[in-house]
Point group: C2
Chain length 364, copies 2
DNA sequence: CTGAAAGCGCTTACAG
DNA sequence: CTGAAAGCGCTTACAG
């Protein structure tokens, strides 16, 4: 690289603007103690040299890196969720002039390396942990980090976190199905992924609460588990439901991902959705709209957005409460995979009307 | 923050290990010129203090930041693609001990800010541009960056890039449909998104090439465009195809995203897939498997992986050819949305057999 | 194999 | 409002 191509430093800008580096530094950071004349000269020189300040140099003296680190699992999590959350984060962080450093952990080696060396420690001002299940020891390790840590899309007691109320969301979804007249509602949970375990847990709680509210018994046979990454497992779970003495009339899937699998399986064996079986998901996957999946929506973008605002507030007023919790709302989005149960499958209601005429649902 | 909680510096490690900072620096970087005794003392001290080197300080002297920046569009691109590509990138970069700095651009303000200030310039050693359409001026601007730039999931002439051969992939897909016996094959392109424009262009080229190979005429009426984010637009596009004097028997969608929309629309109006209409996608979206969508697969993960390897090789042997191109393969994945055309819709073949019996497809 | 010293490019008291 | 100087935490010749 020739000398003229060397990246401009503050000294270059200072020389060009005819001022000292101190003045350049002050002008570029917008400090008030700079004369308008000096400021405009500096700004012009900086532009002409396409000067960009070296965060390395400034962070060395300020102790602030101007960077926020994100720790996320690689494949456990749905990739769209990661992509969308990062987008939400980036928008807020760029306004706060913070850079985004991403650590995506896909295997055990990387995981121990990260927690051993804590590379974020010296290279970021805060850490966001996005849907990453930590052991208690790992949690403690992060507590020692000496910088703000925010848990995103997961609930961490006594630590700052941003998440949705999974139980409330599940209740919402269940009420929709109950209001349509369903009485035998199955629930499919995903297992195997190390993330989203709180979600699985809390969504099941919501499922049970809604049944209780409605005065319906909890039936173990209606709750099945499957590793959503193994198609055969989901197929078996659905098979279990389809071979019950009394088949459910609706399936509430723990996630859209599973709901899509269920949809595919039901279609392949000719079970009409929603005529014979309603299917409800959770998440509002980017494809849910296109495929008409009724679902309980959460917004990954808003989650990222809120997390970024939390972290940047934690970074500015260091006096703020460090363990703030932000609970984001969920919304039910009815589409075309949920409808009233078929009349002949609804014995305890004794409905004789055609399902269509039962669409006017009572309020929750 | 109390003094004991202050993050350990090399000087702390040196004191604890009873050596000089120079020796700590050398030991930690694995330089050979360190006695085994000193090395082990340093390593222990570093571990005990959970010391992490400050890249800010080291980069100031080496001129290397140890960071690779990624520039990506926020919403234009499919979020799963971003998430998966980043995961592929991260795995390779972490092995090369490079951190990942992510700039996600969602609006014009951020875009001009990025290209004006080029914040990556001083804060990363290389830039990866992921499916981001740049104007010629913006391209030139990046050329001035003075650091390696790699274009990912897009073709940039005379610049290092990693991408798939979209035209070849489209030919693959088309041959599958042709081999099944289809003669009237529609193509739906997406418009509106600023990314993937090369893809759209090249996939159309592949579509035409395959028709030519098969000796079939190109029919303008069979090629429609739609903004995949506007459901109504896709519906109209499908409506156009369904109201043609001679309806196509297959739709080759430019992306799985569109294919899913088409599937939903066809289902909603009772057009049996694949009985009446075959649908083929492109990308192998994470949900394609679950939903049985036949598609031409590309691997976002491998793209990220290859891009990271390219960039890290560019960073180590600076003498390497700077404009290397890596073309990744695509694979046809036949699933359940493609089948032979219905006999009555295939006049030029004069097939009388029932579609089912025609499933034994001729080899390509 | 090891250490003392210079210096990377900034910011920040300090003096004016 | 401005500048000279010190110093942030490292790495790298240089000398031993």
């Amino acid at each position: 690289m020739v000398d003229e191509e060397r990246q401009a430093t503050m000294e270059d800008v200072a020389r060009r603007a005819g001022v000292s580096v101190s003045t350049v530094s002050r002008a570029l950071r917008g400090l008030p103690s700079v004369s308008p004349h000096a400021r405009s000269r500096v700004e012009r020189a900086a532009r002409e040299l396409s000067f960009a300040v070296s965060r390395s140099a400034s962070s060395l003296v300020t102790g602030k890196t101007g960077r926020v680190a994100v720790l996320a699992p690689g494949f456990d999590n749905a990739p769209w969720f990661l992509g969308t959350t990062l987008t939400g984060l980036a928008q807020v962080l760029s306004e706060a002039d913070l850079d985004l450093l991403v650590y995506i952990i896909t295997d055990m080696r990387e995981r121990t390396a990260f927690l051993d060396r804590l590379p974020a420690r010296r290279n970021a001002d805060a850490l966001l942990v996005v849907s990453f299940v930590l052991t208690p020891e790992e949690h403690e390790r992060l507590d020692e980090l000496g910088m703000p840590v925010v848990f995103v899309s997961q609930h961490a007691p006594d630590r700052a976190s941003v998440y949705i109320d999974d139980a409330a969301g599940a209740r919402q979804g269940m009420r929709h199905l109950l209001n349509l007249g369903h009485r035998r509602i199955a629930h499919i949970q995903s297992v195997g992924a190390s993330d989203f375990v709180w979600s699985a847990h809390d969504r099941l709680i919501g499922y049970r609460q809604a049944l209780e509210e409605a005065g319906l018994p909890y039936d173990d046979a209606l709750v099945v588990q499957a590793d959503y990454r193994r198609r055969a497992a989901v197929r078996e779970a659905v098979g279990h439901l389809l071979s019950l003495p009394q088949m459910p009339t609706a399936v509430f899937a723990e996630s859209d991902q599973i709901a899509f699998e269920v949809l595919g399986i039901l279609r392949s064996c000719g079970v009409d959705v929603p005529g014979r079986m309603s299917v409800l998901g959770f998440d509002d996957h980017p494809l849910a709209e296109a495929l008409g999946l009724s679902t309980v929506a959460q917004s990954a973008w808003r989650t990222g957005h809120a997390a970024a605002e939390l972290v940047s507030s934690l970074l500015t007023d260091t006096a703020g409460e460090p363990a703030r919790h932000i609970v984001l709302p969920t919304r039910l989005i009815p589409r075309t995979t949920t409808a009233p149960p078929p009349a002949d499958h609804n014995p305890d209601r004794g409905l004789t009307a055609h399902p269509i005429s039962a669409r006017g649902t009572p309020d929750g």
